[in-house]
């Protein structure tokens, strides 16, 4: 039998039981659409997480007080759980004058209440920062100016507002030069920061900046027994994100800080942004695969549906098979007739499923799109699902294979029927 004839025969048989064909098709459509949409979701999460981290730059190292070993309780030195990272440490890192280090910034965080002219209080995060913070963390002033060196030294009561905070405190605009009360101290607004959206693990738009000295003297005085000023984080910008550069700088800083803290084991942690991205990438990739696998189960169910219905069809059409064999159909003619039926259903379902999945992907991208809310919306407020060609090809390939795999047993059964017995079948 010619292939075209075989296809025609198969399509005709499918057209006879329209409802049955449609329901079997639906099983495949749902499976494939689920694979496309969920893999799109996975890829979207991965891309948006990485994008958000990248906005702050990838060539950064973060030093935070307390080490992993300390957290696990493996080090039991007296007082080892006391935080030890200080502003002076960051100055020491700067004075290393290492060619790999292009900038060092320090920050200390406090939760405060801010009151604007309207009198409503906002609980928010304020960061005391060094002058280098703006540069190192790629965070620039939108309206106004950065803190001057005198202001940094004098611990002046000046504040730079994140764009979200500014909007909340000054809904009418005109924030510059106005006074806000921070824990009931009056501060002058000297800058509104650019809008950055969610950045990795924090939303900078909803925080405010003050000089670090202001933080340490007026908001959250916090000193070590030796008189050092404790900080929450030191950020080091390095020339590139090569593994060797990262390793060398980590080593240099580790040696320096251990010496300064007079400890043998790290009482701080150094994490490269690059490592962070890789770690997140691993996690999101796993999530993608997991989502795809879950969707794959529904594809499997669709395949079982095809097999089931094809077995029914073979039984129903036993006599037809007998007649066809009597007039000259060979095994492979019967085999192909039924294989083409199952592949047509699975591939047709696959195509429709890709269409539906693409629609789902675009619809999913719309959800929570647009402006991230100034209230600090969900962490992935502007998540965009990604429709890639790979999952589409994969889904079509898989659905064709499902037709093949789940169709071959019923078709083989049909082709092996004994013509005499098949002709006797009622």
């Amino acid at each position: 039998m010619r292939t075209l004839d075989a296809v025609r025969v198969a399509l005709r048989a499918l057209a006879v039981n329209k409802l049955r064909t449609a329901l079997t098709l639906l099983g495949m459509v749902i499976g494939v659409a689920a694979v496309i949409t969920l893999m799109g979701l996975g890829a979207g999460v991965q891309a948006s997480v990485e994008e958000q981290i990248r906005t702050t730059g990838t060539n950064l190292l973060f030093i935070t007080p307390g080490s992993e070993e300390q957290a696990r309780g493996q080090i039991k030195d007296l007082g080892s759980n006391t935080p030890t990272l200080t502003l002076e440490d960051s100055e020491a890192i700067s004075s290393l004058e290492s060619p790999e280090i292009t900038g060092v910034s320090t920050s200390q965080t406090a939760w405060v209440s801010l009151i604007g002219p309207t009198g409503s209080a906002i609980k928010t995060q304020v960061l005391g920062v060094t002058a280098s913070y703006f540069d190192v963390r790629s965070y620039s002033v939108s309206v106004g100016r950065e803190f001057s060196p005198q202001e940094m030294r004098a611990a002046s009561r000046q504040i730079a507002l994140g764009s979200g905070i500014a909007e909340q405190l000054f809904p009418m605009g005109q924030a510059l030069g106005q006074k806000v009360r921070l824990n009931s101290h009056p501060f002058t607004v000297i800058a509104i920061m650019e809008e950055t959206g969610t950045s990795g693990w924090q939303n900078r738009d909803n925080s405010a900046l003050v000089p670090i000295k202001t933080m340490q003297t007026r908001i959250r005085p916090n000193q070590t027994i030796r008189g050092g000023n404790l900080v929450d984080a030191i950020t080091v910008r390095i020339v590139d994100e090569n593994e060797t550069t990262i390793a060398k700088v980590k080593d240099d800083i580790g040696t320096l800080l251990r010496g300064r803290h007079r400890v043998e084991n790290n009482d701080f942690d150094i994490l490269a942004q690059q490592e962070f991205i890789e770690a997140i990438g691993e996690v999101t990739k796993t999530i993608s695969i997991f989502l795809g696998a879950v969707a794959g189960i529904s594809l499997l169910v669709g395949g079982i549906g095809i097999m089931n219905i094809m077995l029914v069809a073979v039984t129903e059409r036993t006599r037809e098979i007998g007649i066809r064999k009597a007039i000259g159909a060979r095994r492979r003619d019967i085999l192909w007739q039924f294989m083409i039926e199952s592949i047509t259903v699975s591939l047709g379902g696959g195509l429709l499923g890709v269409g539906l999945g693409a629609l789902g992907t675009f619809a999913g991208s719309g959800i929570g799109g647009g402006e991230p809310s100034s209230q600090g919306g969900p962490p992935f407020s502007s998540l965009s699902l990604q429709l890639n060609i790979e999952p589409v090809m994969l889904a079509l390939g898989i659905s064709a294979s499902i037709g093949l795999i789940f169709g071959i047993y019923p078709a083989a059964r049909a082709s092996r029927l004994n013509p005499i017995e098949a002709l006797r079948h009622e």
Binding site: R12, I327, G328, A329
Partner: protein
């Protein structure tokens, strides 16, 4: 087909078929031998269990014998594989069944095209039309089987059996489901085709008057041939 017309179309030598049902061997055909010449018309008669259906299945290349030799058109078909038998059925044999065995939801024309489809023939529609005209259904080609009477359905089946121009037409109680008038029409058609196209006609029947119209009658009992009579035409 070029094996010489002097040779009989069918040569059967000590043909036997035994079915095994569990541990029990059931002999259905206990060694029969005969030749059938081209353009002959033969009626096979016998009670159920006489082995005539088994013989028809073997002659129709639907089954293979346990012992013996069956030569069809000069070729030993007793040792052929399943696909080769399918090709032989397609090219050399046409089947007419008691219950017509048309496929559902197909027009007469499409039914008759089927054997051509499996033969990968060109010009299928034309050949199918000619076959339908030959059986007198030139005006019913677009009708599906449910729109045709029993006699007309059997004519479609005969057209389907003949469309590949086979050497052998096997009819298994072709009039078993038909009334007397229609039986006569179908018998006339089969015998006309037999004499006009020289197709060899072998039919199984229970009816004496149907058998009497064939040139030769073979009677069977318990898997053996009991009578093989050439009869004079009325």
């Amino acid at each position: 087909m070029n094996s010489g017309n002097s040779r009989p179309l069918i040569e059967v030598e000590d043909l036997g078929k035994t079915y095994s049902m569990g541990h029990i061997e059931v002999p259905a055909l206990r060694g029969v031998s005969f030749d059938i010449q081209r353009a002959e018309s033969v009626a096979i008669m016998g009670h159920s269990g006489s082995g005539k259906s088994t013989l028809m299945n073997l002659l129709g290349c639907l089954d293979t014998p346990t012992v013996g030799k069956y030569t069809l058109n000069g070729e030993d078909v007793s040792s052929l594989g399943e696909d080769e038998l399918a090709v032989a059925r397609n090219r050399l044999i046409g089947f007419v069944f008691q219950s017509f065995n048309l496929l559902p939801r197909m027009s007469a024309l499409e039914q008759v095209e089927l054997p051509l489809m499996y033969a990968k023939s060109n010009n299928r529609q034309q050949l199918a039309k000619e076959a339908l005209e030959l059986v007198g259904l030139g005006d019913r080609m677009r009708h599906s089987s449910v729109e045709l009477s029993g006699g007309q359905q059997q004519r479609v089946a005969i057209a389907r059996a003949l469309v590949n121009k086979p050497s052998l037409l096997l009819a298994d109680e072709p009039t078993g489901n038909l009334d007397t008038t229609t039986t006569n029409e179908i018998m006339n058609l089969l015998h006309d085709l037999n004499s006009q196209t020289n197709v060899t006609l072998i039919m199984v029947t229970h009816e004496d008057d149907v058998a009497s119209r064939c040139k030769r009658v073979i009677e069977m009992r318990d898997g053996r041939i009991t009578k093989d009579i050439a009869q004079l035409q009325p």
